[in-house]
């Protein structure tokens, strides 16, 4: 196994753990920069969605993964960022101004939501954030003079310094924002603020006895997380070029929670993995939906079953794949499987695969058994 020898406290928590990591991240960035020239427009568009979801994933990682506070209302922050963008653009603000302002504005909203969090824990906090999401959705639907109610708002394409951003231009904007957000998140996590978040998550009593102002850090976590989600909301509004209240419903909030559960709560990499999974699951399911009847046909023909059986199988398969709510069912099963068998998410799986190759041929199943994890709320 490789060990990194360090000789200076200054680099005790470096951005990249090794030279190899620098190389691979450079390859990744180069690939992402080249993507518009390599990928079809459909996949480029999916990539933009992945980046927006990854930003939200990072935001939720800070709040839930680092600071241990639950939120199932993050769609509301996305909505606030999106509507702020739409309105700011209507009044002629430039993108360089309203994009960060969307973050600041949503951050303030997040701070306000964080205030009740000072008194609530676990499931109660989850319900409070859920209620907040409903309230925001309702306000957006009713406040017609600003939001145009249920009819929604159209957004003109974004422009930067007077230049209209095309598909590629917008892609690069998203890439830049994603990289900056991830860097900011890494810096938070390896700083005193990040350690205070961790202290909040693991033991509030001990945190207070170490001089950590728990109230301040809880609201900070909410504000930061909301702010980052607000920036994602700004990008989302431009990506969709049309926003309406039902685009920010409960199911979107649940999607966001799934990002970090499937990706892995403990690391930022998990947020990115989760985003990739959530965005790419849809097209994969559609492909599966088209292919499954054909495969069933091949199997029944291969077995020389009588025509009546064949038709019955076909009918059954098409009924299953066209059933409403199938996607939710599959996602539900996936979540259950992850919680039981891989509580550390896709990132945990990735770490284990890496460890296997590092230790090869000495790796053993038992050396990588996932730790038992209990919800913090169970202890209260």
């Amino acid at each position: 196994m490789a060990h990194h020898v360090r000789t200076d406290y200054g680099d005790s928590d470096p951005l990249f753990p090794s030279k190899a990591a620098v190389f691979w991240y450079a390859v990744l960035i180069a690939g992402l920069i080249a993507a518009p020239y390599l990928l079809e427009s459909y996949y480029l568009s999916q990539l933009v969605f992945i980046m927006i979801y990854a930003i939200v994933g990072v935001a939720l990682n800070i709040l839930s993964g680092q600071a241990g506070q639950v939120s199932i209302g993050h769609a509301a922050f996305l909505a606030i960022g999106a509507y702020f963008t739409a309105v700011a653009q209507k009044y002629g603000l430039p993108l360089v101004l309203y994009l960060p302002l969307a973050g600041v504005f949503t951050g303030i909203a997040g701070y306000l939501v964080g205030l009740p969090a000072l008194r609530l824990h676990g499931i109660y906090l989850a319900i409070a954030t859920l209620a907040f999401a409903f309230i925001v959705e309702e306000i957006i639907a009713r406040w017609e003079s600003v939001t145009n109610g249920n009819e929604g708002l159209m957004l003109p394409p974004p422009s930067l310094f007077g230049l209209k951003l095309g598909t590629e231009g917008f892609y690069y904007l998203c890439l830049l924002v994603t990289v900056l957000v991830v860097l900011a998140a890494i810096n938070i996590i390896r700083s005193s603020t990040g350690r205070s978040f961790m202290a909040l998550r693991d033991s509030e009593t001990a945190a207070r006895s170490m001089g950590i102002d728990t109230a301040r850090y809880k609201t900070t976590a909410f504000a930061l997380s909301a702010g980052i989600t607000g920036i994602a909301g700004a990008l989302y509004a431009h990506k969709m070029s049309f926003i309406s209240p039902e685009m920010f419903s409960l199911s979107v909030s649940i999607d966001f929670v799934m990002i970090i559960i499937i990706g892995g709560l403990v690391s930022l990499r998990g947020a990115v993995f989760g985003a990739i999974f959530m965005i790419m699951a849809d097209p994969l399911l559609i492909i599966l939906k088209d292919q499954l009847p054909l495969w069933a046909d091949m199997v029944t023909h291969g077995l020389y079953l009588p025509d009546s059986v064949n038709q019955a199988v076909q009918a059954g398969v098409s009924r299953v794949v066209n059933a409403p709510g199938l996607k939710s069912l599959i996602f539900g099963i996936i979540i259950i499987v992850f919680i039981i068998y891989e509580p550390l998410g896709l990132d945990g799986r990735w770490q284990r695969v890496k460890a296997y190759f590092k230790q090869f041929p000495l790796a053993r199943q038992r050396s990588a058994r996932p730790p038992r994890m209990f919800l913090k709320s169970e202890r209260r």
């Binding site: 406290y9 700083s191 961790m198 693991d202 009593t205 001990a206 006895s209």
Partner: protein
């Protein structure tokens, strides 16, 4: 100057008076131990001093300042650090990170500076790291530096908790049953460390302890509590020989 004084401290939980009119003073530089049977109110007294509980009546004076109404986090800021009887470490983090959390009161950077990782943040990080390493040197914890707390045995965790409290840079260190759950060797090591912390690092120690051999080895003075009331105050030998204390423990 009054270093540390508790005056007529009382706390009531409903009809139960857990700490009843307790008064004592601690001199700078001594090791002061509180003993008493189970349920005597020792840990409650600790929680009152570290302000996790709010007293119903009475006063706590630390270095001429009334700290009775300060919040728990402000108490730590004044230089009073504590450990817990049932270990309250940050279990999913490494030893080093736990110690760095202890350095919280020495960090002056604001959140936006942390986000940008300005030069000030980087310089402070190095200072925190150096301080944490120095504490690890004293308590010989280097080999556990990057191990997650959840993977460490109980005895080691107990020492790490002391280390984390030392990282706060305390003038008064509260140790809640430092030897509970430790075997004989570990208890001996703990006694050595308490003396080292007291003599070499010049930290005043207030502790709750059951192990009388440890108590008599390290304490300058001992206070015995029973049912929240003070029974005896003096040297370890004096308190151990006090008729009320013998009665409370043996049930005579």
């Amino acid at each position: 100057m009054t270093f540390f004084d508790v005056k007529n401290l009382t706390v009531k939980f409903g009809g139960l008076t857990a700490v009843d009119n307790v008064s004592f003073g601690i001199n700078e530089g001594e090791v002061f131990t509180i003993i008493g049977p189970n349920g005597a109110g020792k840990t409650t007294l600790f929680n009152l001093i570290s302000r996790l509980y709010t007293p119903s009546a009475g006063q706590i004076i630390f270095r001429d300042e009334d700290v009775t109404r300060l919040s728990a986090q402000q108490i730590a800021g004044r230089g009073i650090a504590r450990t817990f009887q049932n270990i309250e470490l940050f279990e999913s983090a490494s030893t080093l990170q736990n110690l760095l959390v202890g350095r919280h009161r020495h960090s002056t950077t604001r959140t936006w500076q942390d986000i940008l990782r300005t030069r000030k943040v980087r310089e402070e990080e190095v200072a925190h790291r150096r301080a944490a390493e120095e504490v690890m040197d004293v308590l010989r914890l280097q080999r556990y530096r990057d191990t997650t707390i959840g993977n460490l045995p109980y005895g080691v965790r107990k020492v790490i908790e002391v280390a984390r409290a030392l990282c706060v840079g305390p003038t008064l260190l509260l140790l809640d049953e430092p030897s509970s759950g430790l075997n004989v060797e570990e208890t001996n090591a703990m006694a050595e460390w308490i003396l080292e912390i007291n003599r070499r690092l010049r930290v005043t120690v207030l502790m709750v302890e059951h192990d009388m051999s440890l108590v008599s080895r390290v304490s300058d003075r001992v206070l015995a509590l029973n049912y929240g009331k003070m029974m005896a105050l003096g040297t370890a030998a004096e308190v151990q020989g006090h008729p009320d204390v013998i009665a409370a423990y043996l049930g005579a």
